[in-house]
Amino acid sequence: MEDITSRLKSGRVIVADGATGTMLQKAGLPMGTPPERWVLENPDPIRDLQRAYVEAGSDLIIACTFGANRTRLEHTGLADQLVEVNQRAVQIAREAAGDRAYVAADVGPTGELLLAPIGKLTYEQALAIFTEQAAVLAQAGVDVLYIETMSDLNEMKAAVVGAQQAAPGIPIFATFSFDHHGRTNMGVKPEQAAEALQELGVVAFGANCGATLEMTEGAVAKMHEAIPQAALIAKPNAGKPHMVGHEAVYDATPEDMAEYARKFVALGARVIGGCCGSTPEHIAAIAAAVKS
C-alpha cells in the first residue's frame, strides 16, 4: 500500500472505521468492562468487528487503544499492562486490516482536566502520559497515530507533541469533539483548533464524536474556511442516542450518514468515518457515497 501521507495528498477520500465501544457493547461487552480488557482476554469480537469494517469499505482501522493511556488504565485496573494492551490492540487491528486497510493507533484524552489551578494534571504530566503511550504504539508498528475526542487545546498539544517526540516519522491525525454551541466543551473554536493543529504539523485534522451531525458539519466548515488546503477529518456519532425502552438507539441512519459524508467531502474532508453508534452498515453507506 502507498504510505498514508501520499494517499492523503492524492485527494482520494480515506474511509475510516465506525464505532468500537457501542459495537462491542452490542457484542456482549459487560457493563463496566473497558474494551481494553477484551484486547487482552477476548480479542475475537474486536477482530471480527474490525474485519466487518474492512468488508464494509474502511481503508483505515483504528486499534482499540482509546483508553490505553496511563490515567485511564489506572481507573480500569490495567495500568501494569499498558505495554501489552497497546501492542496487542495494534496486532489485532493489523490482523483485521491485512493489506486492505491502514492501521491507526487510537489516542484518547486522559479524562482529567489540565486547567490550572483546578485541574489534576499539568501540561508536563499529560505530555509524559501521551509520550509513554505513543512510544509503545510506535514500536507496535502503526501507519498513523490518531488523537481523537479532545476538548482542551493544551491537552491536544500535549498529545501531539508527545507523539512527535516518541514516534517521529509517524503521521498524526487529530480531532476535537465539538459539543457546546459549535465549540468544544472547553471552549475551543474550530478555526482556533485548525490553526493550532496546522502549526503543530499534523497531516490531517478535524472533528469526531460531537453533539450532533450538524455541529460536526459546522465545525468542519469553519476549519475549511480557516485553512482551505487542509486535509480534514469528519468522524461524527450516528446522531444522538435515544433510549427505546432499555435499548440505546442512535437516530442517524446509514443514509443520513452518507448524505453528511458527501457534505464533508465538499468541505475538504479527506478522512471520513463514524464514532459512537455507527455500525458497519453506516460505513458501507459512507464508502458507497464518497467512493463513487
Partner: protein, 214 residues
C-alpha cells in the same frame, strides 16, 4: 449596591479568585454584612455565569473559574459569618456520583461544583460508585437530592438500579433523583422513574432548585 459588591460580582463573573478574595475582604472592611455580599454579589454573579454558559458565551473553564472565585470569596466571608453566628442558607443536601462501571468524571464534578456554588451541601462520591453506596450515603447525610451521572449507554442502566435500590430501602420518597450524562434524556428519566434530567451543570442547578422549590 455598593461599588465593592459590584466589583465582587464582576470578579466572580470574570473567574478571578484573587480579585474575588480581595474584594470580599474589602467588603467586610467596609462593614458590609457577609450575607449581603453573598446575596447581592456572589449569587447573582453565579447566576449570570450560568446564563452565559447557556447561551454559548461561556464554556467549562469559565464555569470552573467562576466557582473557584466564588469559593475564594466565601473563604474570606466565612470567619465573619461564624463570628456573627450566621450561615449561608443551605438550599439542600445532594449526594452525587458517576454510577458503577463508569469512570467519567469531569461532567459530574462540574455539576457538583455548580451546585455547591449555588448553596447546596454536596457530597461527591466520585466515579464508579456502587449502587449500595448511594443508598448508604443518602441515609448518612439525610440528602434530599441524588444526582446520577452516566456517560455510557450501558452504564445508564445503573441509574435505574440506584432508583430501585432507593425504593427498596424505603428512601425513594425522601429524595429527588436527577440524572445526567451525554446519552441520558428526559425520556430516559421517565422510563426509569427519575424526577428529572439535566442536560448540563447549569441546568442541573435550576432543575434541583425547581424540584426542591427553593
Amino acid at each position: 449596591m455598593s461599588d465593592i459588591l459590584n466589583q465582587l460580582q464582576e470578579a466572580v463573573i470574570a473567574g478571578d479568585p484573587e480579585q474575588a478574595r480581595d474584594l470580599a475582604a474589602q467588603a467586610l472592611a467596609a462593614n458590609i454584612a457577609p450575607l449581603d455580599a453573598i446575596d447581592q454579589a456572589l449569587n447573582p454573579g453565579m447566576q449570570i455565569v450560568g446564563d452565559k454558559y447557556e447561551c454559548g458565551d461561556y464554556f467549562i473553564p469559565d464555569l470552573m473559574m467562576a466557582a473557584e472565585a466564588m469559593k475564594a470569596a466565601m473563604g474570606e466571608l466565612e470567619p465573619e459569618l461564624m463570628a456573627r453566628q450566621e450561615q449561608r442558607q443551605i438550599l439542600g443536601t445532594v449526594v452525587i456520583g458517576t454510577v458503577e462501571g463508569d469512570i467519567h468524571e469531569i461532567g459530574k464534578s462540574l455539576v457538583a461544583t455548580m451546585l455547591s456554588a449555588a448553596g447546596f451541601q454536596v457530597h461527591d462520591l466520585g466515579v464508579d460508585v456502587p449502587v449500595s453506596r448511594f443508598v448508604e450515603q443518602v441515609k448518612a447525610t439525610n440528602a434530599n437530592v441524588v444526582g446520577l451521572s452516566a456517560l455510557l449507554t450501558t452504564t445508564m442502566r445503573n441509574q435505574e438500579a440506584v432508583i430501585e435500590a432507593l425504593k427498596e430501602a424505603g428512601l425513594r420518597e425522601r429524595v429527588k433523583v436527577v440524572i445526567g450524562g451525554a446519552p441520558a434524556s428526559p425520556d430516559w428519566a421517565e422510563t426509569i422513574g427519575a424526577d428529572a434530567y439535566a442536560e448540563n451543570a447549569n441546568e442541573a442547578v435550576g432543575v434541583v432548585k425547581q424540584l426542591l422549590e427553593v
